[in-house]
């Protein structure tokens, strides 16, 4: 059984190489189905300082909870890839993902899988952000595994009271309010 190839950092010099022209910023472009939303926030380090050079990737189900694949010649619809900016901010536009079932019949709440790469991260940081409030995700497999509501709160995107299409989710990599990261 071959050993897996070890991970290494993406380093500081990726942006020009891994950010696609036309961007991975708008998901499901031109598709009518589902509610269009924006997800935005900041990535900060152990001092609360902005992480200005992260590669932020997202992968999600469509509005019906189905997993999207690419059309001929097109970018895969459910996959987002952006870089954080000088304030550590990222933003994507997408559709509200539907809930989906696991192999044992368990329900995964509306969520987006996230992988963060950056200088200083020797391995990707994986996690999932929930697009539903705490009381609606309690049966989700990750919510159950985390348990502690305070820690779980770090994975819940907050709907902007002034703009119901806007969800905010800040990610602290280390220290007080550190996001829950997962090992798949």
């Amino acid at each position: 059984m071959p050993k897996p190839t070890p991970s290494q950092t993406v380093g500081p010099f990726f942006a020009r190489d891994l950010l696609w022209e036309g961007g991975g910023r708008v998901l499901f472009p031109g598709q009518g189905q589902g509610d269009r939303i924006a997800l935005t926030g900041r990535v900060v380090d152990g001092n609360g300082a902005p992480v200005v050079d992260a590669l932020f990737e997202t992968w999600q189900a469509d509005a019906g909870g189905k997993f999207p694949s690419g059309g001929e010649g097109a970018r895969p619809y459910g996959y987002g890839r952006i870089s954080t900016d000088a304030n550590g901010a990222y933003a994507i536009e997408t559709v509200m993902p539907g809930a989906f079932k696991g192999p044992g019949g368990e329900t995964y709440a509306p969520q987006i899988s996230v992988a963060i790469f950056a200088r200083g991260l020797l391995k990707a940081l994986h996690t999932r952000v929930f697009l539903a409030p705490l009381e609606q995700i309690k049966d989700d497999p990750l919510a159950r595994a985390v348990g502690d509501p305070e820690r779980l709160q770090t994975l819940i995107a907050v709907r902007d009271p002034a703009n119901p299409k806007l969800y905010r989710w800040d990610v602290r990599l280390r220290g007080a309010g550190e996001a829950v990261f997962i090992e798949l």
Binding site: K3, P4, F13, D17, W59, S69, G78, S113, A115, L122
Partner: protein, 228 residues
């Protein structure tokens, strides 16, 4: 935190000799969960997403880039040794002088107008990839006094599942800088040789380009109860 079957070759998040890890590595243990059905699949890159010309980094400019021309070949496999087919491999690297054409690279080495240092390729039905490039140069960095990164090529792999996503670096055999590179040294000893390409002359082009082989293994179905 439970030991994982992968822990023996992957670096830790916190590796203080690589200073940038100190404020970016999580302090809390990771929560171990099986990949969701969503993460057991991944973005599939359609035929036509990658142009054949993107596998040759030496034909981008008006003339050939400076440096030692090389061919890099390899197979992408999973942990069961099965080929990872039709999967996107992205590469990027410094030029032969050790300079990236990137706004934050302030290394005082020349840019090469004929070298952009990026490419991509889709693995074939055997999981094989092949790219043509020039050997990147080593370059100094600020991590520690007299620090130099060994020559390396960055690779980004998607596999067939989001849970297989991997970004890594490939190094060159016999490079004395490997011993002083905290990024390379962050990998446990058992895994370090997995990041070093092998010289494979016959994969090169006679009289033109040196050949190197770098096989890549992504996590496989053993790593998850549902199979990837």
């Amino acid at each position: 935190m439970a030991e994982t079957p992968l822990a023996d070759v992957h670096p830790p998040y916190l590796y203080p000799d690589y200073k940038s890890t100190r404020l970016r590595a999580p302090a809390q243990p990771l929560v171990r969960v099986p990949p969701s059905p969503l993460e057991a699949v991944g973005p599939a890159f359609p035929k036509g997403f990658v142009k054949e010309s993107e596998a040759d980094l030496t034909t981008w400019g008006k003339s050939a880039p400076l440096g030692e021309k090389m061919v890099l070949v390899g197979r992408v496999l999973d942990e069961d040794g099965r080929p990872v087919r039709r999967s996107l491999v992205e590469i990027w690297q410094a030029n032969a002088s050790g300079r990236y054409p990137h706004p934050v690279d302030d290394h005082d080495a020349p840019l090469d107008p004929n070298f952009l240092g990026k490419g991509q390729v889709i693995t074939d039905d055997e999981g094989c990839y092949r790219v043509v490039t020039v050997k990147p140069g080593a370059y100094p960095w600020q991590n520690h006094a007299f620090g130099w990164r060994p020559a390396h090529i960055h690779l980004s792999l998607f596999g067939n599942a989001f849970a297989q996503r991997l970004i890594t670096q490939m190094f060159f055999p016999g490079d004395p800088l490997l011993a002083i590179d905290p990024i390379f040294q962050s990998v446990p000893e058992a895994g370090r040789n997995l990041l070093v390409a092998e010289l494979d002359l016959e994969q090169g082009v006679e009289g033109v380009a040196l050949g190197y082989r770098f096989d890549i293994v992504l996590r496989g179905p053993r790593a998850t109860p549902m199979g990837l």
